[in-house]
Symmetry: C2
């Protein structure tokens, strides 16, 4: 039954793609504006200079540059996400940006049409990767890896059709953690949920809830196994309920479920999972939600989705419609699709919707008026006099060679005010000043930009003094 | 003269592309083998299972997966490179993986044919980026940025034609640092050379030398300005020489050069540069090499290239032909190509040939038999008895919640030997052990994997004790 494995993946990918596609409509307004302004500016300029390039300078539709401001926020968030993945023993890996087209074919259901194909320039037919999960499954099958805990942070590309492109980027970052291998039931699944909780707590995005859907309970047992209609109806009651351990217990005590073998097995696994989540201290974060089970036909086990419970609305902040910020699930059939003998490697994983998280954090910083430093420079080398370029170059080389982050202006004779203003505007905390007086006395002045205090330090001790001050701050 | 700006860039890109293309022929042997083996295995298996997928599982030609082992080496090297860029006050940024095709057109000279075009799926015509420099220039022009010091680490793609693909990857990583803006002469140029030296020293790749070519000295003054033939001849003598400051001094003292206005200007700038390099303490690392000046017509200033002087040959190590590991230069015309009014933004930058460096470091580790840990796990949670899953889950959650990197086996009842073997094979230094005895006494055993010593610690103190041990090691 080579086609059987296709189905679970397709639906899981479809859910993931809906959950994780970056950010919501509101967040691209700025980008679209910027692009329109740029186009307008350029068009007007082109009229006056018809001899200059007659194309518009822009990034491709659905993409954008990441400015230094964006990068600072991303780096912080990705550091937190990756350090959580490492805390759970995951190895890093990477795959090429594109795959053979046939590797990706029939993995994404109706979303296949949204892949970026490369032009046939002779040779293989290629497509840009659409997620990080299919390349991972291809890697496992190709290298006959039966067991692996890995994370992968990288860009993926989805050519959203114009009608649904509204507010979504076509290039975006994914952060995935997956556990491949045959293990005792629910232990890796529980760890994936724990990881989601750790990351969402760590990012301090406010309260969140992870909603789970359980395939086997409804579809597998009711539709496929042909449960009696009254049992299906009974389950229908639970579908309306949301809840955690208590809901599982409730279902267990329902004789119409607990007296059915298939139902009992499914409920047993579910109970086990909640037992582990309780030991992990996160059971209260997980809500069992049968009504969530979109595309239920195709999953091979649990699927889950993390929602922010309330947007961090603060004075003057635009209300955010952020929704889902992480999703995951079990996909036991995907690796087998790549294996010539169809050998399966059970997998469970999660994907953090980092683009949405970037957006939330950026908006929050904007609201608070938080200024982001886009450099990490610790010391600025300045002079109040002319003809001190040589001394400045010597001093800055000493700082660099001692591992200190240092800058100076690339001018022979900059004004002192310009230099101090540069420190203030870029947030550099310390200035070392060398002038005629200092040179004569064999000292260097160290100035705190915040307090404007200056002290003279012996030339030969200045690096040590800087290091001391930096370690204290 | 809208075409004038095209030329300098073209040759610089061509030089860079020759210098920085990743690694040498020898290094893909393993990858090719692996791929052939994979193909053979698959082909044989396919014979027995004709009903299974009839395509080969592989990565696209010229690309490869990066295994956890690769990733560990890369992460270390990229950390060092990026921290150097930050030490010099650079901001991070990123651009999309693809650009409008016309953005890249006519920037790379004859290499244009090597770009990956995306399929025309309706909409814009796109190509994968070929380097990080043209997207940077596009960014500056599009946002009207006149001054910026940025670094950019990212993948680029070059569709090498089959005849030259030998040993080169079509997808590879570049690490670029660039300074854009109008500044006093040679100060940013000297900093770029300083950065190259810091990175190459920091990576401990062995001795290296940065070779510089100076366009103005030979081409600009001799060919374009029509110097007297005897002056050209005289310069011909110097072309044979390699050297640093002394060579510049020597040329200065040659009346046939020093009495020529253009020659004197060019030499003056060169002298200035060497003065700055001396103040930076790196003049001895820089060799002035007129014979290097390939494609001399097109540069707007200095171009430079860093070569490893000797390969780190050690007992049993294959001789490495690594050649150039970094390159850079001045490209004052590129940004103007994107500006409707042709406004120029002078730029100077460098690109670290990280793929070659990855390869050298990997080879060296292989020779030394150095084992790479692919995870960072600090503590393993084990039990010698059955039915201790619950206790293990509680313990590991405490460790995770305290920020400690911890793992356990996903088995209900793993054997103790299997658990300890896992620690040894993956390099986990500490084990916490919980069993019946420990549970009864309210303790946890902490075991050092290296010394096999075990101590019992009160259950409530075990996290603190672990943290103490980790901070000491």
């Amino acid at each position: 039954m080579p086609l059987l494995g296709l189905l679970p993946r397709r639906a899981w990918a479809s859910l993931l793609s809906q959950l994780l596609r970056p950010p919501c409509a509101s967040c691209t307004g700025a980008v679209r504006c910027q692009s329109q302004v740029a186009e307008a500016v350029l068009t007007s300029q082109l009229k006056a200079h018809q001899e200059k390039p007659n194309f518009i300078i822009k990034t491709p539709k659905g993409t954008r540059d990441l400015s230094p401001q964006h990068m600072v926020v991303r780096e912080k968030i990705l550091d937190l996400v990756i350090s959580c993945f490492k805390r759970h023993g995951a190895k890093g890996m990477d795959t090429p940006a594109f795959e053979l087209k046939e590797t990706l074919t029939e993995k994404y259901g109706e979303d296949s049409g949204l892949m970026y194909d490369l032009k046939d320039q002779g040779g293989e037919l290629l497509s840009l990767r659409y997620d990080l999960t299919v390349p991972f499954a291809r890697y496992l099958a190709m290298n006959k890896v039966k067991k692996m805990k890995r994370y992968h942070v990288g860009k993926v590309w989805r050519r959203e059709s114009p009608t649904i492109v509204q507010g979504r980027y076509r290039e975006f970052c994914q952060c995935d953690f997956d556990i491949a291998g045959q293990f005792d039931p629910m232990i890796p699944d529980a760890e994936c949920l724990k990881i989601m909780c750790e990351i969402l707590s760590g990012l301090q995005l406010g309260d969140f809830l992870i909603k789970m859907a359980w395939k086997d309970v409804r579809h597998e047992m009711v539709v496929k196994k042909g449960l009696a209609p009254e049992v299906a109806d009974r389950i229908g009651d639970y579908v309306q309920c949301h809840g955690g351990v208590s809901l599982v217990e409730q279902m267990f005590q329902d004789p119409r479920l607990s007296q059915n073998k298939q139902a009992l097995e499914g409920l047993g696994d579910l109970k086990l999972l909640f037992e582990y989540l309780t030991l992990f201290g996160i059971a209260d974060k997980i809500s069992f939600d049968l009504s969530l089970a979109r595309g239920l036909d195709y999953y091979t086990g649990v699927i889950y989705e993390a929602m922010l419970l309330q947007t961090p609305t603060q004075a003057g902040e635009e209300p955010l419609n952020v929704g889902s910020v992480a999703a995951g699930g079990r996909y036991d059939g995907l690796v087998g699709m790549f294996d010539p003998k169809g050998h399966k490697v059970p997998c469970v994983g999660l994907s953090i919707g980092v683009e949405r998280i970037f957006y939330i954090v950026e908006q929050r910083m904007k609201t608070k008026g938080e200024k982001v430093r886009t450099t990490e420079t610790q010391v600025f080398v300045a002079t109040p006099q002319k003809n001190f370029l040589q001394e400045r170059l010597k001093l800055i080389a000493e700082l660099w060679d001692s591992g200190i982050k240092a800058e100076m202006l690339y001018k022979n004779n900059p004004k002192l005010l310009t230099q101090l203003h540069y420190c203030e505007s870029t947030g550099i905390p310390l200035v070392v000043i060398i002038g005629e007086q200092e040179l004569k006395e064999g000292v260097i002045k160290i100035r705190s930009v915040a307090s404007r205090e200056e002290v003279a330090i012996k030339r030969e001790n200045f690096v040590a003094e800087i290091q001391k001050r930096l370690s204290e701050s």
